[in-house]
Every structure is written in C-alpha cells, then in structure tokens.
C-alpha cells in the first residue's frame, strides 16, 4: 500500500480535507464556479491543490490513475450487467461462494507455477487457478444439494467457509515456501489497485466487455430463465446449461474483480448496483442499463477517491460509493423509491379523506330535517356546518379545515353565506356514488357474508374506495336492490 499511486503527498491534515472535499465534489459534479465559492469558506491552502489533483484524477491525466480508474469502471459495468440476472435468479449468495472459493485457487496456482520454475506471480496464471476453484466450489454446492438433504443455504455456508479456510491455510504454506515472489499475494483478499499494469487493464477490460456482450446476446434466454425456469424447461430450453453459463459469467467478473476489489468485497459490486437500479425502473432492459451505470460510476468514483487519498484501499471505497448510490436510489428512485411511495400513499390518503368528507356531508343531508323530498339524490342544496362535520367522523379541526379547503378548490363543495357548506353538482354526484358503493358493500356483507349489521360499517369504510366498476356491477347483481339504477339505498344499519 506504501507505493500507492497517490498524487496527493502532502501532510495528514491536508489529506483529510482533501478526502472530504473530494467526496463532496465527486457527488456534485464540480465546476470552476463551484470552486471559487468554496474558496471563500475553506482554507485556500487546502482547496486549490486538492482541486487540481481532483481534476487531474477525474479527467484521468495520470497514466496510472487512468489504468486503475478505467479498469474499475469497466469491472463495475460488467458486474452491474451480470449482477442484474444474478439478483433476479436469486443466486446472490452463490456469488459469495464463488468469490470465497477463489482464494485456495490463487495459492494453488502460485505453488504450481513456482514448482514449474516460474516466479509464480503471473496474473493470468493466478486468475486461472482462481477460476478453477470458484467453479469447483459451485460444483460442491450443487453436489450437496442433489445428494444430501441439506438446504442450499447450509451447503453454501459450508462450502464458502471451507474454501476460504483452505485458502488461508495454503497461503500460510506459500509464505514458508522457498523461491517465488510471494509478496502481495494476500492483496487478493482485500484488493489492491496499486500494482496494476497495462496488461492487467487489458485483461480486465477484455473480460468485462466479453462478459457483458455474452449477457446481451443471451438477454432473452436469461430473462426467461430468471422469470420462469419451469416454463423455459417445458419449451426445451436447456435450463441447467443456461444456469451454468450465468455462473461462468459471474465467475469471470469475480475473478477480474479480485485484483481491484478483493474477493471479500467483489460480491457487493455484483449485488448493490442491480439492487439500486430496481428502485428506478420496472423494466428489465432499463434495470440492466441503470445497474451498469451505477456499477461503472462506483468503480470510477471509488478508484478516484482512493487515488487522491493514500491508505484508502480502492475496494473498500468502491463498495462504499456503491452503497451511497444504493441509498440515494432507495430514497429518490422514481419507480419504487421511498419518496415516490410516500407521495403515492399521501395521494391515496387524500383521496380517501375527500371521499369520507363527501360521504359525511351526504349522510348529514339525509338526516337533515330540510330534506322532506323523499328522494335521496336531490338533497344536495341542504347545507352542513363545520361543527356538524366535526362530530360526524373522528377527524381533528385542522385536518378537517384543510380537507374542506382542498374540496372547495376541487369545486366539490361550496361555502354558503351563513358559513356552512353545500355540495356542488359535481360533489353531490361523487358523494352519491361513494355512499352507494359503501352501502352496496354493507348490504353484501349482511346478506351474503352473514356479518352482523353493526360490524359492516368499518369494513365498508375501507372497501368503498377501491371498488372498481366491474366489482360494483357484480355487487349490484348479487345484492339485487329493489331500486332504480344509480339510486342510493338507505343505510342498512340505521
């Protein structure tokens, strides 16, 4: 870690400031204007050099930085694409098994290469060993699944830890072996970008592109496999082969991620981006695109921050950036984010409250002595006071005021000169519809579901808001009211 490709080599305090600034700047797309405004509130000595460093990192001016940042971005992209399918196939934990199972492969490959008289540190050789053992690990899980009565999470837990333990043990043996350059072999556990050379970049970028391309080629097949494997099999698609192909792709991404992110954290790069993307879209194609962007962005930003601040391992920062993007998505995601869902909920609550208000006014009118016409739908001219309304339901003064204001703006009610309220024509029609739905449901519950009349009001209170036209039609058929169409029946529970 000492020979990190750090560009900022100033004192500790400066580094700290640089880190904070970099993190902030990275998330807000820095501009020169932004830089000038912060200058006034921050120590100039910290800001200027940091910003130039920042710019040089972000714009990939340093050769080493360029290699690392582009590699991790490509890795993130591929992980985002393949991770989408891994997540939808509900095989995320299998990715974890894969990555942990690579460790003994690395140690074993090193030993074999030393035994054959090499230096032992050829990256492709080590990664080949990792790949073999990753697939062995998956094979073990599937064997245990098929031939024992263990549940698959148990099998995965056992394989994951045994392979990792075996890897640690082999690493110990490697350290005590004569010959070979074994320094830095453990960096595969936590990842280390410092030692990356151009050939590594070519390897990572090549594998990442190839894996993404395969994923896109088999998009349709993977989609079917993840959604409904039984149907896929009945159509003759080779489900097991497709699963194997998917696991091989995951293995490839894991293996190229070993160097940058390390085997413990690489799983985060496979799971977090698609999980974040799920908050933004309900379409698989877009999900994959967003996931790829989140993954690539995590790799890019994470590696940049790590380049700016020495002693910040790239793997950890990449995962933290991915997690930050996940949290942002969870809150702001346009399809299923917390805010969107809260807004939908609020809109629904308002609609329900409005319908309750209209029904309350309608029912108060029914009781009003002014309405002797005998026809329930023509009573809308009777006015209702605020006090009457407040007593009709358990709502508080402020909520009811707000509700009345909103209903007035929607032209459902209008105030009378005396300070009371009447329903407008539109409001009366809507009120009649809801009262009718409410009572239809009540009558249905009493006559068809044998529920006591004094219990039905609360049930109907919930249901009246969600009755669609075809449900109402069915209710009308079942209940068979002796009334003209659209007429509001009397309340069945007095």
């Amino acid at each position: 870690m000492k020979k990190a490709h750090a560009i900022n080599r100033r004192g500790g305090a400066h580094r700290l400031g640089a880190c904070a600034l970099a993190a902030a700047a990275l998330f807000t797309a820095p501009t020169p204007a932004w830089a000038r405004t912060t200058q006034s509130i921050t120590d100039t000595r910290v800001a200027w050099p940091t910003l130039s460093d920042l710019i040089s990192v972000i714009t990939l001016q340093g050769y080493n930085t360029r290699l690392v940042v582009l590699s991790t971005a490509m890795l993130g992209l591929a992980a985002g694409v393949i991770g989408s399918f891994l997540l939808l196939r509900k095989r995320s934990l299998m990715g974890d098994v894969l990555s942990h199972a690579t460790l003994p492969g690395i140690a074993a490959a090193f030993m074999v290469m030393v035994a054959w008289g090499g230096g032992g540190k050829s990256l492709p050789g080590l990664l080949a060993g990792a790949t073999v053992f990753a697939l062995l690990g998956v094979g073990c899980v599937q064997l245990m699944d098929r031939h024992t009565r263990l549940k698959d999470d148990t099998a995965m837990g056992i394989v994951l830890s045994v392979y990792f333990g075996l890897g640690i043990a082999l690493m110990g043996i490697v350290q005590s072996m004569p010959g070979g350059n074994k320094a830095g072999l453990e960096s595969f556990i936590y990842g280390k970008t410092a030692s990356m050379v151009f050939n590594d970049f070519v390897l990572i970028a090549g594998v990442a592109c190839a894996c993404s391309a395969v994923c896109l080629t088999f998009f349709k097949e993977f989609k079917l496999l993840c959604f409904d494997d039984g149907f896929a099999q009945s159509q003759g698609w080779p489900v097991h082969t497709l699963d194997l192909l998917m696991l091989i792709l995951v293995t490839c991404v894991t293996v190229i991620g070993l160097q940058a992110v390390g085997l413990i954290l690489v799983i985060a790069l496979l799971i977090t981006p698609p999980a974040a993307a799920r908050f933004w879209t309900e379409d698989l194609r877009k999900l994959m695109a967003v996931s790829a962007v989140v993954g690539a962005l995590s790799g890019w930003l994470g590696a940049s921050v790590s380049a700016l601040v020495p002693r910040m391992p790239a793997g950890a920062i990449i995962v933290i950036v991915a997690a930050a993007l996940f949290v942002l998505s969870m809150v702001f995601g346009t399809a299923r984010g917390v805010l969107v869902r809260a807004r939908r909920r609020r809109r629904l609550d308002r609609r329900i409250a409005r319908q309750h208000l209209l029904r309350a006014m309608f029912e108060l009118n029914e009781q009003a002595p002014a309405s002797h016409t005998g026809q329930t739908t023509t009573q809308r001219d009777a006015s209702v006071t605020f006090r009457q309304l407040l007593a009709a339901r358990s709502w508080n003064t402020r909520a009811l005021k707000r509700l009345l204001n909103r209903a007035r703006r929607a032209e459902l009610i209008q105030p009378t000169p005396a300070g009371a309220y009447t329903l407008t024509e539109q409001g009366a029609a809507e009120a009649a519809r809801h009262v009718r739905n409410h009572r239809l449901w009540e009558i249905y519950l009493i006559t068809r579901a044998d529920i006591a009349p004094n219990h039905v009001d609360r049930d109907a209170d919930e249901v009246e808001h969600v009755l669609g036209t075809d449900m109402v039609a069915q209710l009308e058929q079942l209940v068979k009211l002796p009334l003209p169409k659209r007429a509001v029946p009397a309340s069945p529970h007095g």
Partner: protein, 284 residues
C-alpha cells in the same frame, strides 16, 4: 398393455381404475395427443404417482381432479419432463415429448413465479414465442403482434404495458393463459388456471377453453372446484396417487368415484410411500 395400439384399445384400464367404455362410436386416432404408459413418479424415492396409464382423446377438455397431494401437478410436470420419472413413457402425437415440444403449451401455477419481476404483461406473453424465435434472435415485430393478439383474446390487451405486479390475480392468470396461447400449440397443460380468480376471469378462461376445443385442440386442466367439473370438462381424470377413474364426464363423474378419490383416510399407497422414505432414512 404398453404396446397395445391405441386404435384397438383406446382406454387401457390400469388395475384399480373404474372400467370405462370407449366413447360411443368414436375411434381415437392412432397418434393420440398424449399417451402415458405405465408412468411412476417419485420425489426423492417417495412415490407420488403410481402406474399411470392413459390415452388422452383428441379435441377434448380434460379435467384432472383429486385431493391435495394427489399428484395432479406432478402428473403434468412429469409429462413435461420437468421432474424425472421413476419409470414409464410419455408420447405426444405418437412421438416422444422431447421431439414434440412445439406442439405443447403450458400454463404453470400462478404462484410458481415471482410477480415482482421487472417485466410487463406483454413481455411475459412474448415468452410464449421464444421457442419459435430461437436462440439469441431478437423478438421481431411479428412475434410482438402475435403476443398482443393472445393478450387480446384473454381480454386484457389494454394492460399490455403494465408491470406484472400491478395486475390483479385474475389478470395475472390471464397473462399466463395468453402466454400459452401465444405458443400456438395443439395440446395444452394447465395447472390450476381457475385458482383464486375473479368471476370475469373464470368466464374468460372457460371461453378460451371452448375456443381451443372448437379448433380441435386438447387441454388437460388441473381443477379443484368439483361443482363446475361437469359443466367445463368433457372427460375427467380422478387422481389420488394413481388413476382412480378416467373417462367421459357423464360416465365417470359419479358419487362412487368421488368417494374413492376423496375418501378421507390415508390410502395404503401413501402409507407405503412414506414407509419407503422412512426406510431410506434408516428408520425401518
């Protein structure tokens, strides 16, 4: 019995099944849509279906009824090679199923998939065309159109772009049915298509089944509502770990067969199956 030509003996009757008369004057074609020969299915050594031997007549709607755990879904899944058979042969239109997949449509149970999956109704129906589209080829406009037509037939074309979790249970069931229609098959397997659907959906499914029948297609439908069996199905398979009875509904839908199939006690077959499993686990 295994090699008996279907033309001569259209309804081989396995031991224990109620003898059935061949449909009046109707000769089955030699290549019946589905012939099951002496099929036994086991889950982890536990037999769940014993010695099923059936020849399904063409152009009929066939209901599969039986209590929970009778092996109704298992029968379908074993025919479709989704679970291994302990023994037996299945042929579709005279050839092994493996070579006739394009002639077979499948409606799995609705609960068998995750409806939170990020696809639209049209996407799911289009999956019925994947077999015709082939490996790695893109979905063309013509296939999209075929999927749209199928959605229209089940009456929810207006919901094509809706994400599937935003559909009601009945609409989801119609999506599955539309996907099978998009397969454009001759023999359909449907696993509980009427389970927990609204009245409108039930009506739509019945109408589709009638259309299939009129165009000469055959459908095997797992069904749980005994009241509607005589109305919906031409033939019935009574199943309870074996074929209790099989034949035209008006002949086999009798109190006696219902009692035999649903008779509350643990049958000896089930006891034997459990004994096999316990022996396997070392507890004999």
């Amino acid at each position: 019995m295994k090699n008996a030509p279907a033309a001569e003996q259209p309804n081989p009757t396995p031991a224990g099944a109620t003898p059935v008369q061949p449909a009046t004057g109707h000769e089955h074609p030699p290549d019946s849509p589905l012939s099951i020969h002496d099929m036994t299915v086991a889950y982890q050594r536990k037999p769940v279906l014993w010695d099923v031997d059936l020849d399904i007549p063409e152009g009929k709607l066939i209901g599969i009824v039986g209590p929970n755990g009778a092996g109704k879904s298992t029968l379908i899944k074993a025919c479709l090679d989704l679970i291994p058979k302990a023994s037996g042969l299945v042929s579709v239109y005279g050839k092994p199923y493996r070579r006739q997949r394009k002639l077979v449509g499948y409606v799995p149970q609705r609960e068998s998939v995750d409806w939170d999956f990020p696809v639209s109704a049209l996407d799911v129906v289009t999956m019925g065309r994947y077999g015709k589209i082939g490996w790695c080829m893109p979905v063309t406009r013509a296939h999209k159109q075929a999927a749209m037509t199928a959605l229209d037939r089940v009456g929810i074309a207006d919901l094509a772009s809706r994400q599937i979790s935003q559909l009601s249970g009945g609409q989801q069931q119609r999506v599955f049915l539309a996907r099978a229609l998009a397969q454009d098959a001759r023999l359909y397997f449907m696993d509980e298509p009427f389970a927990a659907v609204d009245a409108a959906t039930e009506k739509a499914i019945v109408a589709i089944l009638q259309q299939l029948k009129t165009s000469g297609k055959t459908a095997l439908v797992v069904h749980h509502d005994l009241h509607t069996v005589p109305e919906y199905f031409d033939w019935v398979i009574f199943l309870n770990m074996r074929v209790v009875a099989f034949g035209p509904t008006r002949e086999v839908f009798t109190q006696e067969n219902l009692h035999k199939t649903y008779g509350g006690k643990l049958t000896l077959l089930d006891q034997a199956a459990q004994a096999l499993v316990i022996a396997e686990r070392g507890g004999s």
